[in-house]
């Protein structure tokens, strides 16, 4: 078993203290002694991977953690280098970041804002993490992003799909590579119109919290622009486990499409229930009844089993993509762990690389330098084609995938097939688009 010789902030501090002279018994160090918070002074730099390890998203968190470990390995020159070789920016050479060995600490967000912030704070205050990344829900991402802004740490969001993360809750120190509700709508609507026609009547079931609201808004406005009619939108409690009471009224409406703005366990259960109630066998207004799941996750598709077959949805990335970056990442992840990576793993891996590259290009770990390096950064070779990190809202703009549940999966990881790669131009929106209004980045905060 390979030993990652992890040392924490401790050794760095020890070095610093020793350098200052052990003869002096006590040294008071005010925070302002360094240029920015947690400035790495030793031979290593610590990143904080804050993912759900308990609770319903624990498996997703585990996959994110695998990707982070892989990224650290590649940054430190281990393994096959993964996407380092396909990444258009060539500053990363396997010698860590700015010559410092990359180390990491992990924490458990529990998919709760409070716990996630506690965990992030512990990484910042105790372990001296210079960057926090991870998460598997928008609520957590927004909460941790705000914390990092206050603490003067860079936050590279993991899986967060709500418009708000780079909309009304955007922050100067926070960056999102993952796509968002608006992009899902923009990518899905034309495909849906193409497959199901433009005179459809849609019934929405929406998880009763922020992500649900933004997704519902994005999908309704995108599909209505195609000529669809929104018959009804119904909010379902997050805690609901059985959606039959929400599914049956669909039978009595004249809707011929059901849109499930649900994620995770909610999506598994609502989709399962909808299929149980025979919605997919219905013919309404002479048309076959259809179900749409705006945001797909492979792990959740697995939970829904047979029921996902033929159902459209969108996803940030899929391992079956054939570009060089995706192939390199899938090979390297698959060789190490024995199964293909999820989209959550992909976005987390890419975020780590993007951060490392930005530091390298800026020549400094200073958050403000990193922000500057990432803003307006254009790159390619990380799996979604040419991508822009937009300066105005710190959102990545890249191709979005429309996928469909596969009819004949060859394994439990091969559940989705790519229907269309929606080009980036089609999902780009102005940064002051109404669905993203109300936020302000503020200025970068180095923490001192």
């Amino acid at each position: 078993m390979s030993k990652t010789d992890l040392t924490r902030r401790g050794v760095m501090k020890t070095g610093a203290v020793a350098g200052a002279g052990l003869a002096v018994p006590t040294i008071f160090t005010a925070r302002s002694a360094s240029a920015f918070v947690n400035e790495p002074t030793g031979g290593s730099v610590t990143l904080g991977f804050n993912v759900p390890q308990t609770g319903p998203y624990a498996d997703e968190g585990a996959d994110e953690l695998r990707a982070y470990e892989l990224a650290v390995e590649h940054l430190n020159g281990g393994g096959d280098g993964g996407m380092l070789s396909t990444f258009s920016s060539k500053t990363l050479d396997g010698t860590g970041i700015l010559g410092k060995k990359v180390e990491y600490v992990t924490g458990d967000t529990q998919t709760k804002s409070d716990a996630a912030r506690a965990s992030a704070k512990s990484m910042i205050e105790k372990d001296g993490a210079i960057m926090i990344t991870g998460g598997s829900s928008s609520g957590v991402a927004v909460a941790v992003q705000a914390l990092c802004q206050e603490a003067g740490i860079i936050f590279m969001a993991g899986l967060t799909h709500s418009n708000d993360t780079t909309g009304k809750d955007r922050k100067a120190n926070g960056f999102r590579h993952f796509f968002n509700s608006y992009m899902s709508g923009a990518a899905l609507a034309p495909v849906l119109a193409n497959a199901y026609g433009t005179d459809r009547k849609a019934y929405h079931l929406t998880a009763d919290y922020n992500w649900g609201y933004t997704t519902e808004e994005a999908i309704t406005s995108a599909t209505e622009a195609m000529g669809w009619e929104t018959v009804e939108t119904v909010k379902t409690p997050l805690a609901a486990t059985d959606f039959s009471a929400y599914i049956t009224p669909v039978l009595q409406s004249d809707a011929d499409v059901l849109v499930l703005n649900h994620y995770g366990g909610n999506m598994v259960n609502s989709l399962t229930n909808a299929v149980q109630f025979g919605l997919r066998d219905r013919i309404v207004n002479g048309k076959q009844f259809e179900i749409v799941v705006p945001l797909y996750s492979r792990l959740m598709a697995r939970g829904a089993g047979e029921n996902v077959k033929g159902i459209f949805g969108s996803t940030n990335w899929h391992w079956s993509l054939q570009d060089e970056g995706s192939k390199a990442f899938t090979r390297s992840f698959g060789t190490k762990y024995g199964f293909p990576p999820s989209q959550a793993a992909h976005t987390c891996y890419v975020q780590t690389l993007l951060y490392a590259d930005a530091v390298q290009r800026a020549g400094s770990f200073n958050p403000c330098a990193v922000v500057e390096a990432l803003e307006g950064f254009e790159f390619d070779g990380l799996g979604n084609g040419p991508t822009l990190y937009r300066a105005e809202d710190h959102q990545c703009f890249k191709d979005v995938l429309v996928v469909r549940g596969k009819e004949n999966p060859t394994s439990e990881f091969d559940l989705l097939e790519i229907v269309e790669i929606t080009p980036v131009a089609q999902v780009t929106y102005p940064h002051d688009h109404p669905q993203f209004a109300g936020g302000a980045l503020g200025s970068c905060n180095p923490g001192v």
Binding site: T54, G55, P56, Y57, A58, D59, D208, E232, V234, K235, T236, P237, A239, T241, D242, S244, A245, Y246, T248, P249, L251, Q252, G265, V268, N269, T272, N273, Q276, F277, G278, D281, R282, L299, M300, R302, G303, A304, G305, E306, N307, W319, S320, T330, R331, G334, T335, F339, P340, T410, S411, F413, D414
Partner: protein, 343 residues
């Protein structure tokens, strides 16, 4: 009208699950006086009996298919279940298809064992301890059981489909002479409802018509007097506990196809089940069952778009609201008796 009928139907299966869990909780409350926070975990264990049976039946060996490749470009390894290769595709496939009903056979001994071990190993020592201690220890146990399941099965829901024979849904609309397809109800949910009725009926019959059941009923009503008649009620608790565990476990097995089991499904049901038990009335079995169905149906009604439009958020809080109203107007719940769990 048919919308209301539909919601009654919807309430039935949720109500069945509430009723079955509440029934077991009440048995334990009523006879043993123990607040069992691990009861939801028993429901969850039942569901994972179904998952395990599915895993056992689909134990596979790998066959390399040279014509196809896997995600890394190597020849694809296809899993072939032993059962399928032994009995042929149709019979073997059929056996796998029926994994959930078959797992009932496994769940009974497993749950008896779990219930027995729990009572003898742990709960027994807590009869005379304060309720607070009982809560702490059973909550700890619930976490441990849950985490063990998570360790082996992961945190994701695991699809556990019903046999194909029950895959469709029943058209009440056509049967009642209404428009076809307006009131449909999945077969498996009907099965679940009747299964729940059978279990509830079985438990009641057992309590009503056996000597042991008579002792249990007497013990729930008045432990002191039962002791005065020379009966050591404590000794019979193990069996009571095992019965409650089996009821919860079977409820879990049959629930698996309705919603894919995950490791925290027990906790999701636990709090609501406590509310159901209290609303029904402490120590009253008919109360627990009635409250389970009533709350299940009310929850369905409250989710109707018309109701939510009128009272926003009512679908989120209906059960708790009803619980508050009932407890304030009927101090001991619907059918509770004086003196049970009031210390």
């Amino acid at each position: 009208m048919d919308a209301l009928l539909l919601q009654v139907l919807n309430g039935l299966d949720k109500g069945s699950a509430y009723a079955l869990i509440a029934l077991g909780l009440t048995l334990i409350f009523g006879t043993l006086g123990v607040v069992n926070f691990a009861h939801g975990a028993l429901f969850m264990l039942g569901a994972f009996c179904a998952v395990t049976m599915q895993r056992i039946l689909t134990l596979s060996y790998e066959v390399v298919d040279e014509t196809r490749t896997d995600f890394l470009g190597n020849p694809l390894k296809v899993d072939v279940p032993y059962v399928q290769s032994w009995f042929g595709d149709s019979v073997g496939g059929g056996i796998i298809d029926w994994a959930v009903p078959i797992s009932l056979l496994m769940a009974v001994p497993v749950m008896i064992f779990v219930g027995f071990a729990m009572e003898r190993g742990l709960i027994k020592h807590f009869y005379k301890r304060p309720h607070a201690d009982q809560i702490l220890v059973t909550f700890g146990l619930a976490i441990v059981l849950q985490e063990i399941i998570k360790y082996f099965y992961g945190a994701n829901p695991i699809p556990t489909p019903a046999p194909d024979a029950f895959a469709g849904s029943f058209d009440f609309g056509a049967m009642l002479g209404m428009q076809a397809g307006s009131i449909i109800y999945p077969y498996w949910r009907l099965v679940y409802f009747f299964f729940a009725l059978a279990i509830i009926g079985g438990v009641f019959a057992f309590l009503q018509f056996t000597t042991f059941g008579m002792v249990v009923r007497a013990g729930m009503a008045d432990r002191e007097t039962v002791g005065l008649l020379g009966i050591d009620i404590d000794r019979r608790f193990t069996i009571m506990f095992a019965i409650a565990a089996v009821v919860a476990g079977l409820a879990g097995v049959m629930y698996a196809p309705i919603n894919s089991p995950n490791y925290h499904m027990g906790m999701d049901f636990l709090v609501l089940s406590f509310v159901v038990v209290v609303v029904g009335g402490m120590g009253s079995l008919p109360g627990a069952v009635a409250a389970g169905f009533v709350l299940g149906i009310l929850e369905s009604f409250a989710s109707m778009a018309e109701v939510v439009a009128f009272l926003p958020g009512i679908n989120q809080i209906i059960i708790y609201l009803v619980a508050i109203i009932i407890l304030l107007t009927r101090p001991r719940g619907l059918m509770g008796r004086k003196g049970v769990m009031e210390d």
